[in-house]
């Protein structure tokens, strides 16, 4: 058990059928997750990070999406072949997920108490009364004032930040081993974002949960994660621990991302550094490296062959022929 990874994704390929042809949203990615680790997956829209997150719970809308290759091993057992009814017991109990939009992920016609009790009873044999007590305790733990009263309120009576915190509480109510958080703070204000992130880390420590944090925000990654995957066009382009990644990014894309994020600077710059060009269309991917057209270190070789993800030193793996 010591040697076994909590979660291991092997050569995962996910394809979507569109009316213009087939698109590989995720194209052969592998990674693993240890107990109580926080793994960040960072990338821009369309890079496949959300699809990857959804696939861990087999929540990819199908059709059009389909896992066509690869394995997702949870404690050594493959999820990909699991039936939908088996997944229903699995979700929430083993791996839980929270989404970007706290407005829409709670059902507006039921009270939050109702929804929390449902989740608890789905996975435990608690009676209605016990489940309610647990739910109230959960609300207390995330410091929602007057939990006995608020448990009977409807989602629209709460603010966005509070809803997201309730989602987190619900996701963790059955002590899952892994929490997958897909852009959990993107829809929230900065001051509220800080509260939510603090809550995630606090509960993670308490329950010893591993977290997969999917985000486009490198700031959030830097503050919360231990290891990071950088994705581009369905591929992992760099994998490193957080301090290595931010100190010495090897892939030109990672480097570009790090320099181009608007950040508060000591002195105003004449011009912000950018990554030129746009993300290629997944339907018309270039032959070689997918980043070649935007890369400042591109050479002829890059346009002919796709660089594999390789260990460049003991801390970093990079998919680039000419890394920094």
């Amino acid at each position: 058990m010591n040697n076994q990874k909590l979660l291991e994704v092997q050569d995962l390929v996910i394809e979507f059928t569109t009316d213009k042809g087939k698109v590989r949203a995720v194209d052969g990615i592998s990674f693993s997750l240890n107990n109580s680790e926080t793994l960040g997956i960072v990338g821009e829209s369309g890079c496949g990070k959300t699809v990857t997150a959804l696939s861990l719970l087999k929540l990819i809308p199908s059709p059009p999406g389909k896992i066509i290759q690869g394995h997702i091993l949870y404690q050594g057992k493959d999820i990909v072949s699991k039936s939908e009814s088996a997944m229903r017991h699995f979700r929430g109990k083993e791996i839980s997920m929270i989404f970007q939009e706290p407005m829409t992920s709670l059902n507006p016609v039921f009270t939050i108490g109702n929804q929390m009790i449902d989740v608890i009873r789905q996975h435990t044999h608690a009676s209605k009364k016990e489940a309610k007590e647990r739910a109230i305790k959960m609300l207390e733990r995330i410091r929602i004032p007057n939990p006995e009263r608020r448990i009977d309120e409807y989602p629209h009576q709460m603010s966005g930040g509070m809803r997201q915190r309730i989602m987190i509480a619900m996701a963790l109510s059955c002590n899952p081993k892994i929490l997958v958080a897909d852009e959990p703070t993107t829809a929230l204000d900065v001051t509220v974002q800080a509260q939510v992130m603090a809550q995630i880390s606090e509960l993670q420590k308490k329950f010893n949960t591993a977290v997969i944090l999917v985000t486009h925000d490198l700031g959030v990654i830097a503050e919360t994660c231990t290891n990071v995957l950088v994705m581009y066009c369905g591929k992992i382009v760099e994998r490193a621990d957080v301090s290595t990644l931010f100190e010495s990014p090897r892939h030109p894309y990672t480097r570009g991302l790090l320099t181009s994020i608007p950040r508060i600077r000591e002195k105003k710059l004449e011009k912000l550094p950018t990554i030129e060009g746009t993300v290629p269309d997944l339907l018309h991917l270039p032959v070689g490296c997918r980043y070649a057209d935007r890369c400042e270190r591109v050479r002829d070789h890059c346009r002919l062959e796709e660089p594999p993800l390789e260990k460049k030193d003991d801390k970093t793996e990079v998919a680039c022929f000419y890394p920094y």
Partner: protein, 323 residues
């Protein structure tokens, strides 16, 4: 320096109807007595969280919403009570760029039709002159000229935002409200669009009201910054002052709340409790006091005035009882 736009004590209240007869019970004060000045070819950054009234303020200045009270002086003329006809003439000088690059372009019009619409509406130039102007505009926003007969859904978010900017530029405006123009874009594209906006300002001398929730974005683009909370400006000064020496506790916590992309720098932040109260029922006294780490007795009772705590040349306005 010449003032292009001067806003004096602007108010925008929305009536809240309730009950069987839909009577107006009270007002939601989205913008509650805001004043500021924007000079020629300068940018005022307007920062605040969702629901603070920053979007209503931008719309009200362009009279896409009618002001409840106050004055909007554009080149010295109060435009609040201009007739529809006169206002439409003024619209040549005042334009807007939107947040949502998906919603701001009519999906059934080609790029050419979209950029030509302002020229047609104001009858500018002959057919050939219009075509030339459209091509020039595409060059200005760095789009290829072969995009003209394509439709918005064929473009990425960043490209759509450039199309929206081209449309806003078509009439040679003197002033543009940019309402969260980069917050829906990917990080790597955000900087491209921000660079484009500063480039346009230098090239054409346009003044901007740059609305954003992101202090990091605002810093790069603005000469002055105003911070808004629950319909009121709580702090207003030059960009340099604001980032070096934020005075209002709200501004300070906003600055500290931004996650820093550097794992070595462990966050030293005051996590604000609770959410911003809604403008439906603003608290008495200073609107920020329920979340303020430094709230005193007086903050709960008296609304602080916006006062200059800097010097006459280097103004620093803040509304807080601490100063």
């Amino acid at each position: 320096m010449q003032n292009l736009l001067e806003v004096k004590n602007l108010k925008k209240y929305f009536p809240v109807k309730s009950g069987f007869l839909r009577r107006v019970r009270h007002h939601l004060k989205a913008v509650d007595g805001v004043s500021f000045v924007i000079q020629k070819a300068k940018t005022l950054g307007l920062v605040g969280e969702s629901g603070c009234g920053k979007t209503s303020l931008g719309r009200t200045i362009l009279r896409l919403m009618e002001a409840t009270a106050g004055e909007i002086l554009f080149e010295g003329i109060n435009i609040v009570h201009l007739s529809r006809k006169h206002m439409n003439k003024k619209r040549r000088d005042m334009q807007i760029i939107f947040q949502d690059p998906y919603g701001s372009l009519n999906p059934r019009m080609t790029i050419c039709e979209i950029i030509r619409e302002p020229l047609d509406t104001h009858n500018i130039g002959s057919k050939e002159e219009k075509s030339k102007r459209i091509l020039d505009l595409l060059d200005v926003v760095h789009l290829r000229r072969n995009v003209l007969n394509r439709y918005p859904h064929e473009f990425s978010g960043g490209q759509r935002q450039r199309i929206g900017i081209a449309r806003a530029l078509a009439l040679h405006p003197k002033f543009i409200v940019a309402d969260e123009p980069v917050s829906a874009l990917d990080v790597s594209v955000q900087s491209q669009v921000l660079n484009l906006i500063s480039e346009l300002q230098k090239k054409f001398g346009i003044s901007f009201l740059f609305i954003s929730h992101d202090l990091a974005v605002v810093q790069h683009i603005s000469h002055d910054v105003a911070v808004m909370y629950l319909g009121k400006i709580v702090e207003k000064t030059s960009t340099e002052n604001l980032y070096k020496n934020p005075k209002h506790p709200y501004t300070q916590s906003l600055l500290l709340a931004i996650p820093v992309a550097d794992p070595k720098q462990k966050p030293q932040r005051i996590i604000l409790e609770g959410d911003a109260p809604s403008s439906w029922a603003p608290p008495p006294g200073c609107p920020f006091h329920p979340r303020c780490p430094e709230a005193k007795e007086i903050c709960r009772e008296v609304i602080p005035e916006l006062k200059n705590v800097g010097t006459a040349e280097n103004e620093h306005w803040v509304s807080c009882h601490l100063y």
